[in-house]
Subunit: 194 residues, 2 copies
């Protein structure tokens, strides 16, 4: 009788890794990126040794948390496309992306001092986000509800700029202007008959 | 017979001041904000003493040049409104403003170290630009060609964010996205009958 595959050492390691990243995400959000290693390990239910074995430097952990957040946001594109009409899916994804920027920019900024790591993360960001958003844009343009002449890259960049102001007032500004930007996409849509 | 009012000492001083600011603008653009005082004075046709009497510190000169550029851009709003229909005037002014940001952001950034001066300049910027753009927006909304729910302040801020990327690629990005932003203003306009 084969062993339970969820109880192999490898599966345990995978579970630990997921728990560590989830714990780090939560702890970074409340205590900041310099939170003690023991706080993160305790929350994940593992020893500090396990944390350091997976992530020798704090920057390794920050990059892994960011990549996981980027993956989740990119993967949400296909899920939203399956559940909604193309325009709704596009708008919902841009909101999801705006939320990612609002909550995770500080984390990415913490890497700025390490240019190599920051650049690698930025490359990973575009590698995952650009095709995800391009598929949503293409579907909405094919449906005739948004224009075809704005690229995914331009849109990713623009929402990032609009997300720069901080605090509640900044968040309200970002929401208002992302809505105007989306209306700019709707204008000159193929189905726009004016 | 009264003296020629353009030849009074006061008129001479005004002329010198205008020549100095115009010379400083041109020299800053080609040689940067740390260009030698004698280069600026020579271009203005005045002595270095006159330059230092008007502007004891380089930052005084930078602020005066920026204020003059802000005044010119703000004053252009009424001129454009008189010459064109409200929508054309608004779009032309946003292009004028984008150009100001493209050519003068470096100058304003040179003041960043002097927070008091920078904040005063930012306050002056909004004091002049906000009513100028608000009048154009209001006229275009009254004409039914743009929406009413975007403020002049939001728009000034947004074009400034879109103007952050530098170089030719950045300038092309800025142009593309300001055009989408303007289309976002046109969407949901009172005369939009969809």
């Amino acid at each position: 009788m084969p062993k339970d595959p969820t109880r192999t050492p490898r599966a345990d390691a995978q579970r630990n890794l997921g728990a560590l990243l989830e714990a780090a995400r939560a702890v970074f959000a409340t205590e900041g990126v310099d939170a003690p290693a023991r706080t993160i390990a305790a929350r994940a239910g593992v020893g500090v040794g396990t944390l350091y074995r997976h992530f020798p430097q704090r920057s390794d952990l920050v990059v892994a948390v960011m990549e996981r957040e980027i993956d989740a946001c990119a993967d949400a594109a296909a899920e939203l496309a399956a559940a909604h009409d193309p325009e709704t899916a596009l708008v919902a994804w841009l909101e999801r992306y705006t939320e990612l920027l609002a909550t995770k920019q500080g984390l990415a900024a913490a890497l700025h001092a390490n240019t190599t790591m920051f650049d690698a993360l930025a490359a990973y960001f575009y590698e995952r986000m650009e095709p995800a958003l391009a598929a949503l844009l293409d579907a909405a343009a094919t449906a005739g509800t948004v224009r075809r002449d704005v690229t995914a890259r331009d849109l990713l960049r623009t929402v990032a700029y609009l997300s720069m102001p901080e605090g509640d007032e900044g968040a309200a500004y970002t929401r208002r202007m992302v809505a105007v930007l989306v209306d700019g996409l709707r204008f000159r849509a193929p189905a726009d008959t004016r």
